[in-house]
């Protein structure tokens, strides 16, 4: 049994504004996520990441297709007993204190605790919010709200945790702390689903990543599979190349050019040297040169431009 099972899921939002009509937020998404793994869902703004999570949590109803959590159809609201959720831009009633929030939301998940319960202290410590427990959340900063939200998503000890942009507004040290928490949860056998556009972060913790664009799942695999082991040579030049020259060069080499940055893939040192010779012959000044491995971010940008063309 998978932790999360999504089959041919489509979601069309009907908007009342006449000029728009329908928005296809998800199109035929099929995806299975194994228990005890961390899954990262990537995609540009408006790709449908939040919508996918909302369908899984019964906040939005699917137009067609089906989804299961822990083997149970998401239409059954009781499956959510075992689910934690940190929504993007979440808001708690601002008259509550940190400990109130944890107590109330645990209770809503069917997990009775009192203010004295050790869980409250434990989880507040975990997200480094211990000394704020009696402060009204009205006074919390953005990152503090995010930390509290994370504690709220974990306090009832759920099997699956959905995090929508969990590190939004959190400082770099906090991000590292959150990553550590996620890994610890995974080690306890929990399944974690993260929505993010912070690729470098997803890359650090995810076992598997998927990429959503305009509602379609365009990539799916482990981080290694998606980034491959391709080496990229990057050449920076001092002025833009005339179109004609680019055309000419493209007949001999495969490369991508983005303003003053040229990147060559699948090239060996020999070929790169020849390429640079040609540039110099044209009177182009090379400002820098480096050789790097493709990151998730490169893959992300590349597959987005690929789908656009």
């Amino acid at each position: 049994m998978y932790a999360i099972e999504i089959t041919n899921l489509t979601k069309i939002y009907k908007t009342r504004a006449l000029n728009k009509g329908e928005i296809k937020a998800l199109e035929n998404v099929t995806l299975n996520i194994e228990k005890g793994t961390i899954f990262g869902l990537l995609g540009p703004n408006g790709a449908g990441k939040t919508t996918l999570v909302k369908v899984l949590l019964g906040i939005v109803s699917a137009t067609s297709g089906s989804a299961k959590l822990l083997g149970e159809n998401v239409k059954n609201y009781l499956v959510r007993k075992n689910v934690g959720y940190l929504p993007e831009n979440h808001k708690f009633p601002n008259y509550l204190t940190g400990e109130d929030v944890l107590m109330y939301y645990a209770k809503l998940s069917g997990y009775e605790i009192s203010k004295k319960s050790k869980e409250i202290e434990e989880y507040l410590q975990l997200v480094k919010m211990g000394k704020w427990r009696k402060t009204k959340i009205k006074k919390y900063s953005k990152g503090m709200m995010q930390r509290l939200g994370l504690a709220q998503a974990m306090i009832h000890n759920p099997e699956i945790i959905f995090l929508d942009e969990p590190t939004d507004g959190v400082d770099p040290i906090g991000r590292k702390e959150i990553r550590d928490i996620l890994i610890e949860l995974k080690n306890k056998g929990k399944t974690i689903f993260i929505n993010s556009h912070l690729l470098s972060e997803v890359e650090l913790v995810s076992d598997k990543v998927g990429m959503l664009n305009e509602g379609k799942l365009i990539k799916l695999g482990t981080v290694e599979e998606l980034t491959t082991s391709k080496e990229i040579f990057e050449i920076n030049i001092s002025e833009t190349l005339p179109d004609l020259v680019v055309k000419e060069l493209k007949t001999k080499y495969t490369f991508q050019i983005n303003n003053l940055k040229i990147s060559l893939e699948n090239a060996n040192t020999d070929k790169v040297n020849k390429f640079m010779d040609e540039l110099r012959k044209l009177g182009v000044t090379i400002t820098s040169f480096n050789q790097k491995k493709e990151s998730l971010e490169d893959m992300f940008i590349k597959s987005l431009t690929e789908t656009k063309n």
Binding site: L57, S61, V83, Y95, S109
Partner: protein
């Protein structure tokens, strides 16, 4: 059921965080203190004796005074109390539906019908508590002072709360439909202060027209618009131990509450957030 209670508890907690509810309690306390003061310092016994001397017939003066005091509580409580109650309750649903808040609530193992019923129950409970606080205190004061322990008066706790429940169901429906607290509030006030009184006097209104159709429309509207005006009369009559002319408004309003809550649930169920 447990989920409904949890949501209700949440709603009461929210209500208590509002200044308006605190103000309601404060005003109630003030009224109670005022009564205590009047009862302590005004020598009603002498007054009764004086009137008895002038009029040869012995009328039960203290009973009349008590009646006056009761009216002095019921009438403003029905008008002013419900005014405040509507004001504070109109924000419950729109606040709940705010982005970032509703997502989290819906992600919990609670069905949407439980959420609506819990919200309804919570709102009604807080108003009930408030009204009970005031009415029971006044009842005790009157009892101690005049020795009149008439439980009829206590019935107004239920009748006034019931009138609120009728409007609150509508507030919930409008809140779900429009997410606007201002609109819920305005429509409730319109019904409470204008439509219901007008429709309860529909015979007088119909006098100005010969059209049968208008009369039918008025009659029809009378039954579908919450009959808060009628509920007010029932509250008054019961409290003063007078005969109630017709209990039909109670029945119609109960049906109204059930229907409106049912509709709210159906609509809420279909919505994406």
């Amino acid at each position: 059921m447990k989920n409904i209670l949890t949501i209700a508890q949440f709603t009461v907690r929210e209500a208590l965080s509002r200044k308006i509810v605190i103000a309601f309690f404060a005003i109630s306390t003030f009224v109670i203190l005022l009564f205590t003061g009047i009862f302590a310092f005004v020598p009603f016994e002498d007054l009764t004796g004086m009137i008895r001397m002038q009029n040869k017939e012995v009328i039960n003066i203290s009973k009349e005074i008590v009646k006056m005091f009761k009216l002095f509580v019921i009438a403003p409580l029905f008008g002013g109390g419900l005014f405040l109650a509507i004001f504070s309750a109109s924000g419950f649903i729109p606040n709940m539906l705010e982005k970032g808040n509703i997502d989290l609530l819906l992600s919990k193992p609670i069905s949407r019908s439980q959420i609506i019923l819990g919200k309804f129950l919570g709102g009604v409970l807080i108003v009930l508590a408030n009204i009970a606080y005031l009415i029971i205190s006044i009842w005790l004061l009157i009892g101690v002072k005049f020795g009149i322990w008439n439980i009829d008066f206590l019935s107004s706790i239920l009748t006034i709360t019931f009138a609120f429940a009728t409007l609150y169901a509508l507030i919930i429906l409008i809140g779900i439909l429009t997410q606007s607290s201002v609109l819920s509030m305005m429509i409730s006030y319109l019904i409470f202060f204008i439509f219901s009184p007008l429709l309860s006097a529909r015979e007088n209104v119909a006098m100005f027209t010969d059209s049968k159709l208008t009369k039918y429309i008025l009659e029809f509207l009378y039954y579908i618009v919450p009959q808060t005006s009628e509920l007010g009369s029932i509250a008054k009559d019961l409290a003063l131990g007078q005969r109630v002319i017709s209990f039909q408004p109670l029945l119609v309003s109960t049906l109204f509450i059930i229907l409106i809550l049912y509709l709210s649930i159906i609509i809420f169920d279909k919505k994406d957030y």
